[in-house]
């Protein structure tokens, strides 16, 4: 989505993202409308059918998506507002990608070990803190979450092999 106009180089324009999101919104509306139609969006023998209400919701979503698409399309040539620059986007990925990996880790090895690793690694790599300080913060958060949820409020969170080894 980068274009060749000097200052806007290596950045995404808001109007382009607007177009893409409008298409997605329209598609979601179409899915909602289609599925409601499939269920029956009219008047059954005993009153409104299951798809009666959501069908119109889907229709409205489609209309809004289409209008926003046209509005953005009109401004496509003129609007140069930047949605996100490459540098900003990189910053966003710095937290977004590790977070996604972290959620995967929660599923794989439980929340406590993943949280400890996530906080420690993020602090030391993204924040350039020393290993000791990073690990201390990670351990503190992880341990206090454990005490609060497992012991205090008795709400079980996802656990993995390490917790099992310790007898939980």
């Amino acid at each position: 989505m980068a274009d060749n106009h000097g200052s806007a180089r290596a950045s995404a324009r808001t109007v382009v993202i607007d177009l893409v999101v409008a298409v997605l919104v329209f598609a979601l509306g179409a899915i909602v409308g289609y599925d409601s139609y499939r269920l029956g969006a009219s008047w059954g023998s005993d009153g409104p059918q299951a798809g009666y209400f959501p069908f119109y919701i889907g229709l409205l979503i489609c209309i809004c998506g289409a209008v926003v698409f046209v509005q953005s399309f009109v401004r496509l040539g003129t609007d140069r507002k930047v949605f996100v620059t490459a540098g900003q986007f990189k910053q966003v990925l710095v937290i977004l990608l590790p977070s996604a990996v972290y959620v995967f880790g929660v599923w794989l090895i439980g929340i406590y070990v993943s949280s400890l690793l996530f906080i420690t690694l993020f602090m030391s790599f993204a924040g350039h803190y020393g290993w000791l300080r990073s690990a201390a913060v990670g351990l503190a958060v992880s341990l206090s979450a454990f005490v609060m949820f497992e012991l205090w409020f008795k709400i079980p969170l996802p656990k993995g092999p390490v917790e099992r080894l310790l007898g939980f």
Partner: protein
């Protein structure tokens, strides 16, 4: 007088040592949530909601509403010291609050902000005490068409009063309704919009959406600005507090105006933010020192804070009396009520007297506790704000993940949270408002069932929404609210035409 008795009964409910402790815990948590990026009022309450499932509902709502008061107070701290509004309604507080901090008058600005917040809240609670039973009593006559008309009014006024592209507001709202429809249809038992995924049977939980949209979205947005921000130090000592209190009575007229604006706008959904701006604008026009606004006038802090807090408090009025929340945080509280097995709405005043009056009493006590906490602990909260972002960011992601998981003990929700986070980030940047989406997600099922019941009563005739004066005027109001921008533009043009015309 009946209200006074009920209120005193409420105080006896709220004033147990356990509830008082929860009140202070709630306020402190709330302020912390209010000052941290990524943990606003709605999101913070959503994360802490599962912790309250084991408490009695009255204690739970006391703690959660205190978190809400705390977050309202906390928003002012970040606005004044860091020029970063913690909540949307504290944006107007930065206009004069931050210049005051730059001039070294942070203590004065904070004291002014906290005290006027307290005044605004107190007036709103007083209004609440006497108005809520009346509205609830009145709403007891409501049938499904009336309820649907009130829902319609709520959502239409979002479109009419919202700034920005109305189609984006409607798109965001309707996506919320669509998400609410996912899962088993309660009337026919059919599966809707699940496409064969058994995980979608129970639908999208709004708490997960709130945590993702507001929490993760906010973190992503803050990361754009890089990993550093700086703020002014703050010290509040009794002398500054007393000096500021001595100055405040001078602004009594501004206070009264701001309270009225706040109370009125709070009942209308999404009202706290416009209320704070409107109140700032009105104060600037009416004040003798209006020209100096923006350079660090105490009055410029008093006006928006009073209105925002009054509006934030009155946002609970439609939530309790009609089951229709006026703000995302109120929507989360409403969701909490449903989870505790309480049906919000007019019957609450008949069936759950202890709960309702305990809550109202806790509004008085909670705001007093809040004022004490924020005035004494400002340095601590300012210190939390100075914790570097590389530490805060992953910790908040962890807290959000735990919050999303505990909603239903479901791993899929944690993934959904990340997806909602990306959606929240994109929507925020593209000016799709998030509040209507959350409200629609919470109210979707109730709005749909009241619509279907009305349709059943009327055999599919839409004229049922104009069938008597009550429902007719509600629907009419909703339509006026929906087309308000067009109407007001038309009126202005008509006036201009009349003025320019001959004779």
């Amino acid at each position: 007088m009946e209200e006074i008795n009920a209120l005193f009964h409420g105080f006896t409910v709220a004033l147990t040592p356990f509830n008082l402790m929860l009140m202070f815990v709630g306020i402190i948590l709330g302020v912390i949530i209010g000052v941290l990026p990524g943990l606003g009022g709605a999101n913070g309450v959503a994360i802490l909601l599962p912790l309250t499932f084991s408490m009695p509902p009255t204690s739970a709502i006391i703690m959660l509403s205190c978190i809400y008061w705390g977050a309202l107070f906390g928003g002012a701290i970040t606005s004044i010291l860091f020029n970063i509004p913690g909540e949307p309604w504290s944006v107007a507080t930065t206009f004069d609050g931050y210049p005051m901090a730059q001039q070294g008058r942070a203590g004065e600005a904070l004291t002014g902000a906290f005290t006027s917040s307290f005044v605004g809240a107190l007036v709103a609670v007083l209004m609440f005490t006497f108005l809520a039973p009346l509205i609830a009593n009145f709403a007891l006559q409501f049938g499904p068409p009336e309820f649907f008309a009130v829902y319609l009014l709520t959502f239409c006024s979002f479109v009419g009063t919202g700034k920005g592209n109305p189609f984006k507001i409607v798109a965001s709202m309707m996506l919320g309704f669509a998400m609410a429809a996912v899962g088993i249809d309660i009337v026919t038992g059919q599966l809707r919009l699940t496409f064969g995924f058994t995980e979608l049977l129970s639908g999208f939980h709004f708490l997960v959406a709130v945590i993702g949209l507001f929490g993760i979205g906010e973190i992503l947005l803050s990361m754009e600005e890089g990993l550093s921000f700086s703020g002014h130090g703050a010290r509040i000592n009794p002398t500054i507090v007393l000096q500021t209190w001595a100055k405040l009575p001078r602004y009594w007229a501004t206070s009264i105006r701001s309270c009225l604006i706040g109370c009125w706008m709070g009942i209308i959904p999404g009202g706290a933010t416009p209320a704070s701006f409107m109140s700032y604008g009105v104060a600037r026009q009416m004040s003798r020192e209006g020209a100096k606004f923006g350079t660090g006038q105490l009055e410029g802090v008093v006006a928006p804070e009073t209105a925002a807090h009054a509006a934030g408090t009155s946002a609970l009025l439609p939530m309790i009396t009609l089951g229709i929340p006026g703000s995302p945080t109120a929507a989360v509280l409403l969701g909490g009520l449903m989870i505790w097995g309480l049906q919000p709405g007019p019957l609450l005043f008949v069936e759950q007297k202890d709960f309702v009056w305990g809550l109202i009493a806790s509004m008085y006590l909670g705001n007093i506790a809040g004022l004490i906490v924020v005035l004494t602990m400002v340095p601590l909260f300012a210190a939390i704000l100075r914790v570097p972002f590389p530490i805060i960011a992953p910790v908040i992601v962890v807290i959000c993940a735990i919050g999303a998981y505990t909603v239903k003990n479901n791993m899929l929700d944690v993934w959904m949270m990340v997806v909602f986070g990306v959606v929240g980030y994109a929507f925020r940047k593209l000016d799709y408002p998030l509040a209507p989406m959350v409200l629609a997600l919470v109210l979707g099922d109730s709005a749909e069932s009241s619509f279907r019941q009305s349709m059943l009563i009327a055999q599919g005739d839409l004229r049922v929404f104009f069938s008597n004066w009550l429902v007719g005027s509600l629907t009419g109001l909703a339509l006026v609210a929906l087309f308000w921008p067009l109407l007001s533009a038309g009126i202005t043009r008509l006036r201009a035409a009349l003025a320019a015309g001959p004779g």
